[in-house]
């Protein structure tokens, strides 16, 4: 009798673990780039909640929404009982403390460079038991970047301006600046030293970019004619901001696209 009870007990244990096999972790992602990284590490099934901007890949749209990165809905997160929470910006201290008491580990993914992104992916992989996948993803990205920089060895670096908004004129360096660098361009707003800052239009004329990249919606079409990019008709508008502005697995696509733009 005792034996049977033990067998049944073990059977139940196995069954239960089999039931939860698809759910090693319960992850809440409060950042669209983190969601993309999780899916490419084959952890899409472990995500129990995402922020409202997580729209890629298609499956991410089906997941329970838990507010935005700056205003996460703490009640819903509490109900979801996550053990990992991914963010791309620092949570306020009281929220972070509260999530810690819930037993969740908060991991921030907000790289300032593409190499930083690769390292973030690798360390996330080792935390979540996906070393192989993460290593492959990061190595692939590094390799493709190396190939681009080898190809561009002797070529001149075009001067590039990135427009995030038109009125006021907003640009950014930081991660976006690194993407431009790696693709073989020279970001003329390097000294903005931030994700986003208002930039002086006359400095734009003064520094005279060869190429202008326009992200998203632009209300005014007002670049003066003396700028090289305007003269040579090299203003690019059909760029998907999600691909360019999110440090994630699609970042390499952004770099390769820019490489083609810079060296066509």
């Amino acid at each position: 009798m005792k034996k049977i009870v033990t067998y049944v007990f073990i059977y139940v244990l196995f069954a239960a673990s089999a039931c939860f096999a698809g759910e090693e972790y319960r992850i809440v992602s409060l950042a669209p780039n983190a969601t993309e990284i999780l899916f490419s590490l084959d952890l899409g099934d472990s995500i129990v909640g995402v922020d409202e901007y997580s729209n890629f890949p298609e499956e991410a749209r089906e997941i329970q929404k838990v507010g935005s990165f700056d205003k996460p809905n703490m009640e819903m997160i509490t109900l979801l009982r996550p053990d990992i929470i991914l963010v791309n910006t620092d949570l306020e201290k009281d929220k972070a403390d509260y999530l810690g008491r819930l037993g969740a580990r908060v991991i921030k993914i907000s790289p300032k460079s593409v190499e930083g992104l690769c390292r973030d992916i690798e360390s996330l992989g080792s935390v979540l038991g996906r070393e192989t996948e993460a290593g492959f993803l990061a190595q692939d990205m590094r390799q493709r970047i190396r190939r681009i920089s080898e190809d561009n060895g002797g070529k001149t670096r075009p001067k590039v301006f990135l427009q995030l908004f038109d009125d006021p004129l907003v640009t950014g360096s930081s991660f976006m600046g690194d993407i431009i660098d790696l693709a073989g361009g020279d970001n003329i707003a390097r000294d903005v030293k931030d994700d986003a800052g208002i930039f002086s239009m006359e400095m734009l004329i003064d520094r005279n970019p060869d190429i202008i990249l326009v992200m998203g919606f632009s209300d005014k079409a007002g670049f003066p004619g003396s700028i090289n990019a305007v003269r040579n008709n090299r203003i690019y508008k059909d760029l998907n901001p999600d691909v360019f502005l999110r440090p994630g697995p699609r970042t390499i696509e952004a770099i390769e696209r820019l490489d083609r733009i810079f060296h066509e």
Binding site: S68, A189, F199, E202, D206, S226
Partner: protein, 323 residues
């Protein structure tokens, strides 16, 4: 603080403004070597600076003028150009333009229409028995401001992060325009508005004494108030739709001018126009050079420089805060 002779003050301020206009055109983050002076690049930069300078003067003058007129009509020292809801109406319009109807050039137009509609609503709400009471106007303004701020928050909280950034950037505002057409519109509206307010400055004197007194002096208060509110609304809507919300100018400049030249609107109106232009132009020169190549929103500077200066003027004059 001693009052200055009005004529002397106006001449001084005009000279000051002329000097600042020159400074604003020739000072900027981009340094052009003299041998480049005939290059197209140089002309492009010069053109931007000239457009910006004109818009700055128009905005400073327009906001200060609106402040003077509203403080008199509402007989309230806290009145400023945004008190009747133009800013929240225009802001809401801009947000809807950015979020729902992203067509090039449409955002400012929708913002302008938003500002006008808002004032119309406020005006109708405040109208009781074919009269507009100042208190009603203020309360209606506060109500509509609150409602529209709520709606604005609703739209912002339901839009994508990239679009939220656009909205925030739009609201921060900016004096840089790129087309002479826009500057022309701003200049024309502010000039016409100034003209209307200036020829009604005698009536403003009467109204600021109190409506009973004005009636005794034979002033058709309701018509004049309507004309003034229309002028002020057009000016403020145009400025907000082009430059975003520039804080504090419209509140502070009339008070400072009043300290310096006294409460007679025949002097106060031109004095405020000049002082407003001088103030905003100096702030803008700061805003675009201090962190170059970055720019600060001019509203940041108008507030950071304006508040301490205002406190100084109030303390030094040693009188009641509103007279």
């Amino acid at each position: 603080m001693n009052r200055v002779k009005p004529i002397k003050f106006l001449i001084m301020m005009s000279l000051c403004l002329a000097g600042l206009i020159l400074a604003s055109v020739f000072i900027g983050p981009a340094r052009i070597p003299m041998n480049d002076i005939f290059e197209e690049r140089f002309f492009d930069i010069l053109k931007l600076r000239i457009l910006r300078t004109i818009l700055a003067v128009a905005a400073g003058a327009g906001l200060s003028l609106s402040g003077v007129a509203l403080q008199a009509i509402l007989r309230n020292p806290l009145a400023e150009p945004y008190i009747l809801g133009v800013s929240s109406g225009a802001g809401l319009g801009a947000v809807m333009g950015l979020l729902l109807l992203p067509i090039s050039g449409a955002v400012s137009v929708i913002a302008f229409i938003g500002g006008l509609i808002t004032i119309m609503v406020v005006y109708l709400l405040a109208r009781v028995d074919k009269r507009i009471l100042p208190e009603n106007l203020i309360i209606a303004g506060i109500l509509v401001n609150a409602l529209f701020s709520g709606l604005l928050m609703f739209f912002v909280s339901n839009s994508s992060s990239a679009k939220i950034h656009s909205v925030i950037w739009w609201l921060l505002g900016n004096l840089q325009v790129y087309s002479p057409g826009q500057v022309l519109i701003a200049g024309a509206v502010v000039s016409a508005g100034s003209f209307v307010v200036f020829i009604l400055s005698k009536e403003l004197n009467a109204i600021s004494l109190g409506e009973e007194e004005a009636l005794h002096l034979g002033v058709d208060i309701e018509k004049i108030k309507a004309a003034l509110i229309l002028a002020v609304t057009l000016i403020t809507s145009v400025i907000v739709s082009m430059c975003g919300i520039i804080g504090f100018v419209g509140l502070m400049v009339p008070h400072i001018a009043r300290r310096l030249v006294g409460p007679d609107h025949r002097i106060l109106v031109p004095a405020s126009i000049l002082t407003g232009g001088v103030f905003i132009l100096s702030c803008d020169i700061f805003a675009r050079t201090i962190m170059a190549p970055r720019e600060l929103p001019v509203g940041v500077i108008t507030t950071l420089l304006g508040v301490p200066f205002f406190i100084y003027v109030l303390k030094k004059s040693g009188k009641a805060y509103f007279k």
